[in-house]
């Protein structure tokens, strides 16, 4: 087993190979390296902090469990792991549409205060709503390319599609967002 400094210089793929041999230090290095990014991806895809945390937890669990078989696959670690997180987000949002009310469980946050209710109308929540209203693939394209800075090629690999298709998803997403946020902007102008 190596210390954290030595592991920090290893590639994701090399770390994953060690995780496949049940090396917890290598696993910890991958958590250290990817947790924040994956939370950001899941948050923008799922739209909530609690959901994002659960999704990333499931993704890391899958990482640990499937590491022994992973080395045979012909994919970069980051591509594979982004794909796991994106697919979990899409699965969750599909299931959420059909969940009975009882399955929703307890609400994570307490009732909003009047100030918080007023803040619900702020720009951030409007943008989150606009993002959430996009079809899954468009949302994933914006999350990966715009927010995460992946190249179009990398995003295409994650989404298992072509670069051209990613560009098409991006432009449709941006047009959709511009449309939704334009009405929000005019609402704001009218109230001021």
């Amino acid at each position: 087993m190596q210390d954290g400094h030595a592991l920090a210089s290893l590639s994701d793929e090399a770390l994953m190979e060690r995780v496949g041999r049940q090396d917890r230090t290598a696993y910890a290095a991958l958590v250290e390296r990817h947790l924040e990014h994956m939370i950001a991806v899941a948050f923008r895809m799922a739209g909530g902090r609690a959901e994002a945390e659960d999704i990333v937890q499931e993704a890391f669990l899958r990482l640990w469990r499937s590491a022994p078989a992973w080395q045979a696959r012909n994919a970069r670690f980051s591509t594979w792991f982004h794909r796991v997180v994106i697919n979990l987000c899409i699965d969750l949002s599909r299931k959420r549409k059909w969940l009975p009310l009882e399955a929703a469980g307890d609400i994570d946050d307490p009732a909003p205060s009047p100030e918080e209710k007023a803040e619900d109308h702020d720009m951030q929540s409007q943008i989150a709503d606009a993002l959430a209203s996009l079809p899954h693939q468009q949302r994933a394209a914006v999350t990966l390319c715009y927010y995460e800075g992946l190249s179009n090629r990398e995003a295409a690999d994650v989404l298992q599609t072509s670069v051209k298709a990613v560009e098409s998803l991006l432009v449709r997403a941006r047009r959709g967002l511009a449309e939704k946020l334009a009405s929000f902007r005019s609402e704001i102008c009218e109230t001021r």
């Binding site: 890391f60 943008i127 715009y146 432009v171």
Partner: protein, 153 residues
């Protein structure tokens, strides 16, 4: 890198697809687009402004800071996980299932086994041929009253 020649509409598309910040433009089009904007007599200001407005809105959608304890929760996952890695466990289950029964027939077979067990359990609780009818008090049972209730009547 090969120099790409862009037209006005290609540059407009770059703004539309990727926003106003050239750092977000694809590597294969960034220099060509900037060169075209610099050399062109056409103004791309309105496209750049519109794209920048949307970028600013998107940038204001911030991700909340990671909660303390979340990293520890992730680091503890291997302890909660089964000692058998999922891939190995799943592969061996699939192999076993495939060896025993082809395709999806295992579900039907499992249903038949459950039905057989339930049938057997029901069978051993039913009266046998030698059982006394008096003991079972069938007539009272059929009329909805017990022997004690019959005496009271």
């Amino acid at each position: 890198m090969e120099t790409v020649m862009l037209k006005d509409e290609d540059v407009i598309r770059v703004f539309e697809y990727f926003g106003a910040d050239p750092r977000r433009w694809p590597d294969d089009r960034r220099s060509a687009a900037l060169a075209h904007i610099a050399a062109s007599t056409k103004s791309f200001d309105s496209w750049a402004r519109e794209a920048a407005r949307l970028d600013a809105l998107l940038d204001s959608n911030l991700v909340p800071a990671i909660r303390p304890g979340l990293k520890a929760r992730m680091l503890a996952l291997p302890d909660q996980s089964s000692s058998t890695p999922l891939a190995l466990h799943r592969d061996s289950t699939i192999r076993l299932r495939a060896a025993l029964l082809p395709g999806r027939y295992w579900q039907a077979a499992a249903g038949l086994v459950v039905a057989a067990v339930l049938g057997f359990m029901t069978g051993i609780q039913l009266p046998q041929e030698g059982d006394s009818l008096e003991a079972l008090d069938i007539s009272a049972f059929m009329q909805g009253v017990t022997q004690d209730e019959e005496e009271l009547l």
